[in-house]
C-alpha cells in the first residue's frame, strides 16, 4: 500500500511538474517542452494508454510485451530486468513501469537516479489506477479533448448492480486463471450489466469445481489471440454449472481487455451485443 501510494505520488509529482511547465500560452525556454520528453515504457498497459492519448511519438523504447507501439522501437527492459546500455543509447527522460509486488528493482532505481531519468512506477490494478495514470500523463498529450474524454469515460463507468447477472471471467485455460474482485475487469463489468461471481482479490487460479461452486449466470472467456479461443471455450464448457449446461458462454479475442488501459472501456463496451445475444438466446430456450 505504501509503495503504491509512493508510486502514485511520484507519478503525480513528476508529471505535475511537466503540467505546470506546459500551461500558459508562451513557451518558457527554461522549462522542458513535451517534445523533449522521451519515454521508455516497461509496461504494455501504460504503452496502450499513452498511445491512446496520442503520445506515441514520445515513446522511444519499450518492453518485449508492448504490442501497441512500433515493433522497431528497441526493447530495453521490463518490470523485472533492464539493459542499462540500451537505455543509455535511447536516452529517455522517463521510464514508466508497473512494478512487481516485490517492488521496483533497486538496481533500476539507482541507475535511473544516477542518470537523471525520472522513474514513474504505478501499479495498474483497478480502473481508478488507470485514471490516476491518465491524469499524470495528461500534460504529454497534444489533444486535451481526448484526454478529457478518456477521463470522463472512466468516471462514467457505472457502479456494480448487486442484481446484475454474475459472471466468471476466465483469461487463461491452463492454468484456469480468472479475474477476481479487486481487478480492473471487475470494475469494467458493470458496463455490460454484469458483476463478478468471484470475490478474492487479483487474479485467481481456480479449479473447475471451485468455479462451479460459484454457479455463475454467465461464463466469459477473454483471449489474447484467435488460437487461444478453442482452449478457453473447452475450459469454460467443462465447468459443471448451469451456465455451461445452458450454453451461456461467451469467448472473445480482445487483447485490449487483458491490459488495464483507457482502451479497455471501449473493448468491454464492444462485448455488449455478444453477451446480450447469448443471454437472450438461452432465456428463450428456457422452459
Amino acid at each position: 500500500m505504501l509503495l503504491r501510494s509512493f508510486s502514485f505520488a511520484s507519478a503525480c509529482a513528476v508529471f505535475g511538474v511537466l503540467a505546470a511547465c506546459d500551461r500558459g500560452g508562451t513557451a518558457d525556454p527554461e522549462r522542458p517542452s513535451t517534445t523533449a520528453i522521451r519515454i521508455a515504457s516497461f509496461s504494455p498497459a501504460m504503452s496502450a494508454t499513452l498511445v491512446d492519448l496520442g503520445c506515441e511519438s514520445n515513446i522511444v523504447a519499450r518492453s518485449p510485451w508492448c504490442t501497441d507501439v512500433a515493433k522497431s522501437l528497441p526493447v530495453v527492459g521490463d518490470f523485472r530486468d533492464f539493459d542499462a546500455e540500451r537505455i543509455l543509447l535511447v536516452s529517455p527522460s522517463h521510464i514508466v513501469l508497473q512494478p512487481p509486488l516485490s517492488g521496483i528493482n533497486p538496481a533500476l532505481e539507482s541507475f535511473a537516479k544516477a542518470q537523471g531519468i525520472a522513474l514513474v512506477a504505478v501499479q495498474l490494478d483497478r480502473m481508478r489506477d488507470v485514471r490516476q495514470f491518465v491524469s499524470s500523463v495528461a500534460p504529454l498529450a497534444s489533444d486535451a479533448a481526448r484526454v478529457r474524454a478518456r477521463l470522463d469515460a472512466i468516471d462514467a463507468i457505472p457502479l456494480v448492480d448487486v442484481h446484475a447477472p454474475r459472471v466468471v471471467v476466465l483469461v487463461s485455460a491452463e492454468p484456469m486463471l480468472a479475474a477476481g474482485g479487486a481487478n480492473y475487469l471487475t470494475d469494467l463489468l458493470p458496463i455490460v450489466h454484469l458483476r463478478n461471481a468471484l470475490d478474492a482479490e487479483g487474479w485467481i487460479e481456480c479449479s473447475h469445481e471451485a468455479l462451479a461452486a460459484r454457479d455463475p449466470d454467465l461464463l466469459l472467456g477473454i483471449a489474447e489471440r484467435e488460437e487461444s479461443v478453442a482452449g478457453l471455450r473447452r475450459a469454460l464448457e467443462s465447468i459443471p454449472c448451469r451456465a455451461s449446461r445452458s450454453g451461456r458462454i461467451v469467448v472473445v479475442v480482445s487483447p485490449e481487455l487483458l491490459r488495464p488501459s483507457t482502451r479497455s472501456i471501449d473493448a468491454m463496451r464492444a462485448l455488449q451485443s455478444a453477451i446480450d445475444a447469448v443471454l437472450r438466446t438461452t432465456s428463450e430456450q428456457a422452459p
Binding site: K71, V75, G77, E85, P100, S102, A107
Partner: protein, 333 residues
C-alpha cells in the same frame, strides 16, 4: 602444456576485450543494432562490471565443480549436485513468500541475494549432516544426500511459488534464469573476487592432495592423505564457492560441469595446472555466454546468461569431447 595454458589466458583476455567492445548502437534512423561498438565513458562502467561479474562467476563455478568432482570422484558432479542451486532457489522463494504474507519488503529481508545465501547455506549444512548420519560423509552419501535434498528444496520452492500472489511468481523464475548484473553491489563483487582468488590459491596449494584423492581410499590413505579432513575441506570450498556464485548471479548451470572437463581435455589430469586451467575455463564459458548475450538481440531484451551457457556450451562441449575421443585422448576423471 604450458603453451596450452598460455592459450587459455590469451583467450580470457581476448574475450574480456571483446566483451568491452561489443554492444548496442543506433543507426541514423534511430534503429538499434548489435555488434562492435566501442565503449563510451558512460557505457564503459557497465561493460567493465559485466566482465568482472562474469569472470568471477565463471571462476567460482569452475573451481566449485573441480572441488566437488574430486570430492565425489564422479565426473557428473557439479556445484548443483549438493543441492546448492535448489537451496538458493528455496531461499529466494522464502523471502518472496514472507514478504508477500507479512507485508515486509523483500529488501528488508535481505532481498533475493540474502535469500539465496541463506538457502544455499542451509542446503549445505543439511547435506553434510544427512551424509554423516548415513555412511560417514563418503562421496556416494554426499551425492545422494545432495540430490535428494535438492529435490525436496525444489519442491519446497515450487510450493512457495504457488502460495505467493500471482504477481510475484515470475520473480523466482526470472531469478532462476541466471543473470550477470551490470550494476552489481561493488562490495559483493569485491568479496566474490577475494573468495575466488583465495580458493584458487588453496586448491592450487592442495594440488598434490587432489591428485592423490583420485586414487581409491586405501591407496590415498597409504599415501598419507587424511581422507576425512580433506573431504570436509573440499566440501566446504566447493559448497561455499557455488553458494556465492548462485547468490550473486542466480543458478547459471553447466559451467561447473563443463569447465573442469574442458580443462582436463586441454591440460591433462595433474591438478597443479588443472586448478588454474579450470578457473580459466569457467571464466571463458561465462564470458563467452555474456558476450553472446551482449551481441544478440532476439527482440526480448536481455537474454539470461544461464540459458546461453547451456544452449551454446553444451554442443561445444560435445564437439570438444568427440574431437578428443577421435584423437584418442583419455576421458577419465
Amino acid at each position: 602444456m604450458k603453451w596450452r595454458f598460455a592459450l587459455l589466458v590469451a583467450l580470457v583476455l581476448l574475450l574480456a576485450l571483446a566483451r568491452l567492445s561489443v554492444g548496442p548502437h543506433l543507426d541514423g534512423a534511430g534503429a538499434m543494432h548489435f555488434g562492435v561498438a566501442m565503449p563510451t565513458a558512460e557505457t564503459l562502467p557497465f561493460r567493465a562490471n559485466a566482465v568482472a561479474g562474469a569472470a568471477v562467476v565463471g571462476l567460482l563455478l569452475g573451481l566449485a565443480g573441480l572441488a566437488l568432482q574430486a570430492l565425489l570422484r564422479n565426473p557428473l558432479a557439479s556445484p548443483y549436485t549438493l543441492g546448492v542451486s535448489s537451496g538458493a532457489s528455496f531461499g529466494v522463494a522464502c523471502v518472496l513468500a514472507i514478504a508477500a504474507t507479512t507485508g515486509i519488503s523483500t529488501q528488508a529481508l535481505g532481498g533475493e541475494f540474502g535469500g539465496a545465501v541463506f538457502g544455499a547455506a542451509l542446503s549445505l549444512v543439511l547435506v553434510w549432516m544427512l551424509a554423516k548420519r548415513a555412511t560417514g560423509r563418503d562421496g556416494v552419501a554426499l551425492a545422494l544426500a545432495g540430490i535428494v535434498l535438492g529435490g525436496v528444496m525444489s519442491s519446497g520452492a515450487m510450493l512457495l511459488e504457488q502460495i505467493v500472489p500471482r504477481g510475484l511468481r515470475g520473480d523466482l523464475l526470472a531469478w532462476m534464469a541466471g543473470r550477470i548484473p551490470e550494476l552489481p553491489d561493488p562490495s559483493a563483487l569485491v568479496a566474490l573476487w577475494i573468495l575466488g582468488v583465495l580458493a584458487l590459491i588453496v586448491l592450487w596449494k592442495a594440488a598434490h592432495l587432489l591428485d592423490l584423492l583420485m586414487l581409491d581410499d586405501d591407496e590415498a590413505a597409504a599415501a598419507g592423505v587424511r581422507l576425512a579432513s580433506t573431504r570436509a575441506g573440499l566440501f566446504i570450498i566447493g559448497g561455499l564457492l557455488a553458494a556465492a556464485a548462485v547468490s550473486f548471479a542466480g543458478p547459471i548451470g553447466f559451467v561447473g560441469l563443463v569447465a573442469p572437463h574442458t580443462a582436463r581435455l586441454f591440460i591433462g589430469h595433474r591438478h597443479r595446472l588443472l586448478v588454474p586451467s579450470t578457473a580459466l575455463c569457467g571464466v571463458i564459458v561465462v564470458l563467452s555466454a555474456d558476450l553472446l548475450r551482449q551481441g544478440l538481440d532476439v527482440g526480448t531484451g536481455r537474454l539470461p546468461v544461464g540459458v546461453i551457457t547451456a544452449l551454446a556450451g553444451g554442443p561445444f562441449f560435445l564437439w570438444l569431447l568427440s574431437r578428443s575421443r577421435r584423437g584418442g585422448s583419455e576421458w577419465n576423471l
